[in-house]
Symmetry: D2
Subunit: 292 residues, 4 copies
Amino acid sequence: MERPNNPIMDRQIGLSMKALDHGFVRLVDYMGDDAAICQAARVSYGTGTKSTSEDRGLIRYLMSHRHTTPFEMCEIKLHVKLPIFVARQWIRHRTANVNEYSARYSILDREFYFPEVGDIAKQSQSNKQGRELDLDDLCAEEVRAIIMHDSNRAYDSYEELVDEDGFGLARELARMVLPTNIYTQWYWKVDLHNLLHFLSLRADPHAQMEIRVYAELICDLVRQWCPQAFEAFEDYVMNAERFSRMEMEIVRALAEKAAVGTAPNFMRDLTSLGDLNLREQREFLAKLGVSE
Amino acid sequence: MERPNNPIMDRQIGLSMKALDHGFVRLVDYMGDDAAICQAARVSYGTGTKSTSEDRGLIRYLMSHRHTTPFEMCEIKLHVKLPIFVARQWIRHRTANVNEYSARYSILDREFYFPEVGDIAKQSQSNKQGRELDLDDLCAEEVRAIIMHDSNRAYDSYEELVDEDGFGLARELARMVLPTNIYTQWYWKVDLHNLLHFLSLRADPHAQMEIRVYAELICDLVRQWCPQAFEAFEDYVMNAERFSRMEMEIVRALAEKAAVGTAPNFMRDLTSLGDLNLREQREFLAKLGVSE
Amino acid sequence: MERPNNPIMDRQIGLSMKALDHGFVRLVDYMGDDAAICQAARVSYGTGTKSTSEDRGLIRYLMSHRHTTPFEMCEIKLHVKLPIFVARQWIRHRTANVNEYSARYSILDREFYFPEVGDIAKQSQSNKQGRELDLDDLCAEEVRAIIMHDSNRAYDSYEELVDEDGFGLARELARMVLPTNIYTQWYWKVDLHNLLHFLSLRADPHAQMEIRVYAELICDLVRQWCPQAFEAFEDYVMNAERFSRMEMEIVRALAEKAAVGTAPNFMRDLTSLGDLNLREQREFLAKLGVSE
Amino acid sequence: MERPNNPIMDRQIGLSMKALDHGFVRLVDYMGDDAAICQAARVSYGTGTKSTSEDRGLIRYLMSHRHTTPFEMCEIKLHVKLPIFVARQWIRHRTANVNEYSARYSILDREFYFPEVGDIAKQSQSNKQGRELDLDDLCAEEVRAIIMHDSNRAYDSYEELVDEDGFGLARELARMVLPTNIYTQWYWKVDLHNLLHFLSLRADPHAQMEIRVYAELICDLVRQWCPQAFEAFEDYVMNAERFSRMEMEIVRALAEKAAVGTAPNFMRDLTSLGDLNLREQREFLAKLGVSE
């Protein structure tokens, strides 16, 4: 047998996708593909390999029913360059392997993230952890100038502190003066299930823009790597909505109201709207408490 | 300051709740409560302690927005006695601490799970991993008799094999003849977030009945331990429904259809049905793509 | 750039290595190699690629100083067929991805582990979880006959229970009569660091022979996959010894006693015995509290 | 039964132990104690509760033989205030639960870590990630002044940026100008096994002093919480030494040399030095390859 590979991904290995002003996401290696997900799922079901179209159906079934373990059978390794404040959000995803550049050991470069004028925005009042209205351009320019000036001055101090002919301060100490918009880099390796979870949170509009940029680049990569899994992820997770028990009362009332005085097959007709297969139509009606 | 405690839970410590024929769930210890969830969440928001009613709102907000880390701040330790085939499903939940009775070291007791006649059912045809129509009582009695007879005969062999005056076979070898309905036991320690995830899968109607029995007992315990968190879990997870992108097209069509030719405040009136607070009403309408 | 690969491993993909009577370990896929470990380590140190001989030195340094994260950058996926009682020990290693054959969904084959006569042994008296003196051949034959007979009879019942023209019992129920020497199978995916930890426990002489057989096959695979990492693992973990504080008092007394009345360079001469590099010689003497 | 508690720990709840200039470690809650470790271990061995002295022996046995799961049965929750650059090292320990102060949501206080003059040291030449010779006091004063000045100026900019009557910049953006010696805080919850692993790395002399200060405070806490486990940890982990295969050749040569021409019971006499029990004496001689 041959090692499973994906020619599109193979061509990407080593290429950097630019992120923010100095950052990047670079594919280092990957393991598995859509077929590998199905292969693992089928060991559970005790059945052999099937056609690609059956693969798509299986992957969609697994995704929609939260059978997550087969998605753990794919793995990806990325080289990422990113500002420290972004790295601090990212590292909260614990189920991953990381090797980060060590500023105890080595000297960091003079590379900082300076937001574009168009990305500099006011504190949101409604969303306490977001940004909202753009600052006017003049103010934004001024903010950007402050950030640039401060960052560079901090780096001047850093250089002065670590200078071997000057203070020669230990690197593990000198680094403390550097602000969190300085770039660091790491190797990050994660399985597809945990990566999709990361993307569901970090490619979300509520994520901070600076990490979302990375998440969106990774989305593009996953779309090429495991197109069926990514399509299923978009359909059943990213573009899905969860309704609470209270909301379900309303949705059910809507369904009832819509059904009243209409043709007897109304609900059945309606379900054909959404391109659902038969099983999905049945499950949809069950969620609404409508009997077929 | 005093150690946080919950008098209702304190009274439960050491008490066994019976599960299946010989199994049990016994509370050994716990850490934290609803207030501990809020306390941890508020360190993130940089605000101090609040009233109990504000706690409820915060917990519901955290649960509905998937802010899961504060729920990890509560921990529970259970002593569980369960058949091996149930243990094999249970152990797949990896984020937990386990110490199991070792049949390499000690001799297992003659205690097997024998399903009640009413629980003995035919293979489901629609759900390939479920059971369906009940067998008639006569057949079920017969099945039960086969299981009992086989289990006991296997145990006879086990006894013969380990008998120190007989073969004196190593325990780690002798145990292999025992069927998976024999009871084992373990200490199981888990945080509340991971426990709720376990419950969402194992207290679900699709879970095998034999593990669901345990999950339901644990639900009862969590309801007493962290009543606000458990209520939020029921409202936003257990009794929630997730609609896929395709299903959302239909739900949105329902909403549109229902809104046509009705009073201008129809959707707003409708949202009051479900006992939603203002933020939730806004979020509900956003999910439906209805502007306020 | 090209995707990193290892031609020796590529040839192994899909090949089964036999384990016990009906089990196997089969390589499905892998990611990374010795160079990938160094590549990740060097991102921490901020230095570029080096020669193979420098790689060996770096890997040995990482292994001996417990810098474990670079070893997480390699991943392997295996298809394993194994008795349930072995699977139960194996699954305790939580940091891995697993998809197991589901006996809720599918029917298990009539394949059981029957130990060879030479492997059937008495309970150890000194090691309460081990086996010790071999049974005499006659007894062992008898034990084997009991195990075979019981296993097959249990399978007869299983067949009778699941027979669609008979009881048609749900598979999730019928499986409970099967003893734990029946074979199951799974896909198992793990990173190299966690795999080495697994091997340090399961390829150890104290591990039960039936799991050790699998661990030893995997050792052979890792030796081909990442030869430098495996050599370092053998030198710094598998064939290393840890001395407690109390034991260190004795070892230091030995060193002192040996040093008395000998040539002034005695300790230095001695350290050359063990093929240590200069750093290692210095560290060895430091462990003994001997100043250079 | 009563909830297990430890009166010494109960008195510590809520008390802050000062760390560095503005940091602290504060005990929030704990679960379990030495007895809980034994209780879980004994479920594996199928035996009941024993005396405290037997507990000590069991705990030492578990620790020395790497039976780590019973130590996972204890859990501790700490509130910690620490500089960001320390938090970045700390968070690499993934098997823990964390809720950190959010600078997206709230404004950080003007609190920075300024190292004491006596802690300001030059870059080590031998250890590329350490510090070495102290700077002379005059230089150190100057370094400290630079750090103080820069930190305060960065905070001035931060204040200017977030000022609601000024730029009103989003907090998630403004925070990027702050250097990594600013203090953050979090709730950190971890089980005893993973905590001891953390301590073995972070209370080690090779750890950066600024994290070691926290690790040492936590050592003091664990010594009171689980005194037997902590004593075993010191004897079998912290003050133990691991010798590689190559080093073992030398140690064995030492033992042989020391044994030559001495009384026949020399090795046996020697082992009595280190306060080893009989099992440990046997194991020690086995490590040296000396037959009894």
